[in-house]
Symmetry: C2
Subunit: 345 residues, 2 copies
């Protein structure tokens, strides 16, 4: 019997979520059943997709039920195991939820090798976010040397990896990010060829001019994470036979910025005239590539070729405010919550 | 020296075009130069894409200049040839424009075999419109047996061929057309599994319900010719991993029906959640498949397996009104103008 603290969904958001939508609860976990493991959470990942699950609407995943623990991926240490693949002390990644302890099915957890890279990278560059960037670039955009790639939320968790992978593959990379500091990081640290600060441009038309100035050769590929005025600025700059991979649209979550949307007929016309391909994708459809992806990226993470940044909040109880800040663009790098101390070696 | 009658672009439309935008002119053609042929037009094709070229805006083709002959494809007979590939009396298809005579470069004309199928089918089922349907279905939608295909403007020139090809390949076909008569033709003559009359449904929501009722299994593939409320009705019915081929959007030409557009964020979300692929295409990118396509389709046209319908207007001088009627959906089948008598055998 283990005491467990967790953040629950207390109410559904009306528009933008607030701290009131969450509630901290202490409860008692049963012992793990056959095939299960008991995990103590060390790191929790916070991601924009979680916003969608707070609504009671059909999405790519079921909504979180009211009164249930907020879902999410974490890294933790096995405290007790009734699954042959795991021993006490192992470090694993799995769906712990926003909780300091969790019972996981062994076949839904993945064992980590702490010597390969810092374990929390399994939640970012070597986990779902890194795989998202890799799959978007490789499987959806078919990125090729010499092409020009634009990336929305370019200093976000996914954008950071996508940009560096694209540079390593010989593409020209135009980032779009919010604020001068993020843009400096994009060009000076991550090696992007240019970065457009969307705070400095009021609408899609101004964004289109800034993007056109930064990429007079036009945009071949767009890694879409944002929607809003960024998308409105990208579409008129797309080259013939260009591709757009829709990975997210954070500007439009919670019903915000709808006035910054281009009219659908104009977008449809651009797709037709320039023979664009627009494709949505979810990382969950690409999980079978995880091993290949990690084998390729882990050495780049370990030797520093692939830079990444973590935005760490201490304490499970502070997860809601870290999540709300992230939705507003207040994070800088992969948003993580430090839930407990490192594992014993 | 040949006297030539032609329809010119007299002025650019403000919104919907009117008869005043056109002017009939008689002029004198020079003799064909080296490598050229003089053609007497028999049939002229009228197509929705011509509306776009009346505007002074960047499109997939240059606009028609004011005072120039309206562009367009025709079938005609060679009156004089200075090109080795053509002899007097040959029947050819090429860009005659809206004119009763034209000088064509030989390398831009294609010789027809009148024994294979009626020559005017080179302007419809065995020409650009047929190739459009074939390329959309084959190259863009990757249509497969067992899938459900929806087609906008299902009884139009392209839709007619797409529907019959899809049925021959074992797909379920849901047509959308304007009016009971067209819908009866779609199901009773062309063999579509269902047809939705968009005149009977006021908006995208009503269309969505009608489409959902007709295809409770959902829509895998959508051949987009219309935009407007039809598109708004299709999007909520798209299945996971579905594909949309954007071939045209006649409902939105001339700035009409913009209020029937879904908001872009809702469309973007549907693309993401259902992993849709939306791709624009132009038949001009698929011309290299013309011979393969004709070899496959010509026998089906000749023996009647592929039904098609022509909407013929007599006389070049009536081309503008036939064109305006077609834009408003008043045509029924491929819009052709009979410009002159059949060729001498």
């Amino acid at each position: 019997m283990t005491e467990r603290r967790a953040i629950l969904l207390a109410s559904r958001p009306q528009g933008e979520p607030t701290a009131d939508n969450f509630r901290l609860e202490t409860a008692t976990l049963p012992d793990p059943g056959k095939g299960e493991i008991l995990v103590r959470t060390i790191w929790l990942s916070l991601d924009p997709y979680m916003r969608g699950r707070m609504d009671d609407a059909k999405s790519y995943a079921d909504p979180v039920e009211l009164g249930d623990v907020m879902g999410g991926q974490g890294v933790g240490q096995v405290l007790a195991s009734r699954h042959d693949g795991f021993a006490e002390g192992d470090i694993v990644v799995g769906m712990t939820g926003w909780a300091d302890h969790a019972i996981l099915r062994g076949d839904e957890a993945r064992k980590l090798d702490p010597s390969r890279a810092p374990v929390q990278t399994a939640l970012s560059v070597l986990g779902m976010t890194g795989l998202t960037a890799w799959a978007g670039l490789t499987e959806i955009l078919h990125a090729k040397k010499g092409q020009t790639l634009a990336i929305g939320a370019a200093t976000g968790a996914v954008g950071t990896v996508a940009a560096q992978l694209a540079k390593a593959r010989g593409l020209t990379v135009i980032g779009i990010a919010g604020g001068e500091e993020k843009c400096r990081y994009a060009t000076d640290e991550l090696g992007m060829d240019a970065c457009i600060d969307h705070h400095a441009h009021d609408d899609g038309k101004a964004m289109a001019k800034a993007i056109g100035d930064a990429a007079p050769q036009g945009i071949d590929l767009y890694f879409e994470n944002v929607g809003g005025k960024t998308l409105a600025g990208i579409v008129p700059n797309m080259n013939r036979d260009g591709r757009i991979a829709i990975c997210g649209m954070v500007a439009w979550y919670s019903g915000k910025n709808l006035d910054h949307a281009m009219p659908l007929p104009a977008v449809w016309r651009a797709i037709l005239v320039n023979r664009l391909t627009v494709q949505g994708f979810l990382v969950s459809d690409h999980m079978h590539r995880m091993d290949d992806f990690v084998a390729e990226l882990a050495p780049m993470v370990k030797d520093g070729r692939l830079k990444h940044r973590e935005d760490v909040t201490e304490g499970l109880e502070n997860a809601p405010q870290a999540f709300l800040a992230m939705l507003g663009g207040g994070n800088f790098g992969k948003t993580l919550v430090r839930v407990g101390p490192d594992g014993d070696a």
